[in-house]
């Protein structure tokens, strides 16, 4: 499951930010950019955002919703939520180990 996100190469981090953003509810592209900027402190460029989004969609981790507007909202899929949780648990374990070492240093 972790590989679903880690295996995206240079799009791994943007994909992770997008999944975190979509975990908070469905959003269209611009809303994702704003949310990611606010929660992660990262400004994703439009090309990077859609490069990662296309990869997530192709892997079935995020999916578009039907919309009459030009702005198309996306939501995280069940597979995307599992992959995100696995990745966050990995990061959590890594962070805990690092902080533990710092505390005993």
């Amino acid at each position: 499951m972790v590989e679903e996100v880690s295996g995206l190469g240079r799009f791994s981090d943007p994909a992770l930010f997008i999944l975190v953003s979509l975990a908070g509810g469905e959003k269209h592209g611009y809303a994702m950019m704003e949310d990611i900027g606010a929660t992660c402190g990262v400004r994703l460029g439009p090309g990077t955002l859609y490069g990662a989004l296309a990869r997530l969609e192709r892997r079935g981790l995020a999916e578009p919703l039907v919309s009459d507007e030009r702005r198309k909202p996306y939501r995280i899929t069940a597979a995307g939520a599992s992959a995100l949780e696995a990745k966050l648990r990995e990061i959590e374990g890594f962070a805990r180990a690092g902080l533990g070492r710092l505390a005993t240093a």
Partner: protein, 306 residues
């Protein structure tokens, strides 16, 4: 800056634009564009070309046919190398060339490399082609089609006709004319007729196998597998071509008189025969390499790192 962004978006692949352009454009309109956005969208367009995430249904259908075309092109290239190789073998079976190969290490090693390369190419073509032939026959028998088995019968039939023709010439026609000299018009005509028959047999065999494969409906998986032996065959053809070049150059250095003589095919200039063989082998090997690369590119279209 926004007009520039819109221009750059046009650089994305058509399939990507059909899927994302509308919503992407809507997102770009929601905020003023910056220089970094221009760079980001430009690199995004490059990424979309290098690692396509959106594939036309038509493109998916084309992947199989592109791999099949690549495999067949390697088969045609191998037929070209084989035809030139037979000419080379006929030329070098004369005692003078055999002696040169024994006396000169470069000539001998190059000749051995040609033989080994040709054998590897043959094995690779058989390894890649046999599963496809088997599947084509199985599909044809399963669906009650007769055209595919008939087409696959053409190579052994043409081989039989060719061997029969040569036997008739050697045992019946040749004695009638009293074993004519090399440059005797009768001998020239007979030899040219053998060459023509051989070329027709190779063309008919390769064309019929290609047609059989084209009609067989063999699955994409077998073509994907066949690309590996096809690549090995292409490399072997390059080795054969390079070794043939080395053989000629080494012979030129080792025995200039022999190289400049008239011991080529049908007692034509040796250098000219060698050049024709090298040209045919070189073109065929280049075709095989290009076909193998194209096939791998097609096969990797769905499996690009994403």
């Amino acid at each position: 800056m926004s007009w520039l962004l819109k221009r750059i978006v046009r650089l994305y692949p058509r399939a990507w634009r059909e899927r994302y352009e509308d919503e992407f454009g809507a997102m770009l309109e929601e905020r003023p564009a910056s220089v970094s956005d221009v760079y980001d969208v430009a690199t995004g367009a490059l990424d979309a070309w290098l690692f396509p995430q959106v594939i036309h249904e038509r493109s998916v259908a084309l992947i199989g046919s592109r791999m099949r075309r690549s495999v067949l092109l390697v088969l045609w290239a191998w037929a070209g190398v084989m035809a030139a190789g037979v000419g080379f073998q006929k030329m070098t079976e004369y005692e003078d060339f055999v002696r040169a190969a024994h006396e000169s290490a470069p000539v001998g090693v190059a000749f051995d490399a040609i033989v080994v390369g040709a054998l590897i190419a043959l094995v690779a073509v058989l390894a890649g082609g046999a599963p496809i032939m088997f599947a084509a026959l199985r599909n044809a028998i399963g669906s009650g089609r007769k055209d595919v088995p008939l087409l696959l019968c053409v190579p052994p039939i043409t081989a039989g006709i060719f061997v029969g023709y040569v036997l008739v010439l050697v045992r019946v026609v040749d004695p009638i004319f009293g074993d004519p000299a090399v440059h005797d018009p009768v001998n020239v005509v007979l030899f040219v007729s053998i060459v023509v028959m051989f070329m027709l047999a190779v063309l008919a065999s390769t064309a019929s196998v290609s047609a059989a494969i084209g009609r067989s409906g063999v699955g994409e998986r077998l073509y994907r597998f066949a690309l590996y032996p096809a690549a090995l065959a292409a490399v072997a053809m390059v080795v054969v071509s390079a070794a043939t070049v080395v053989w000629g150059l080494a012979l030129w250095v080792q025995d200039p008189a022999l190289f400049a003589g008239d011991d080529g095919i049908l007692a034509t200039p040796t250098a000219a025969s060698w050049l024709v063989v090298v040209a045919v082998m070189g073109c065929s090997a280049c075709t095989a390499v290009a076909a193998a690369v194209s096939g791998f590119k097609a096969s990797g279209y769905e499996n690009e790192p994403i």
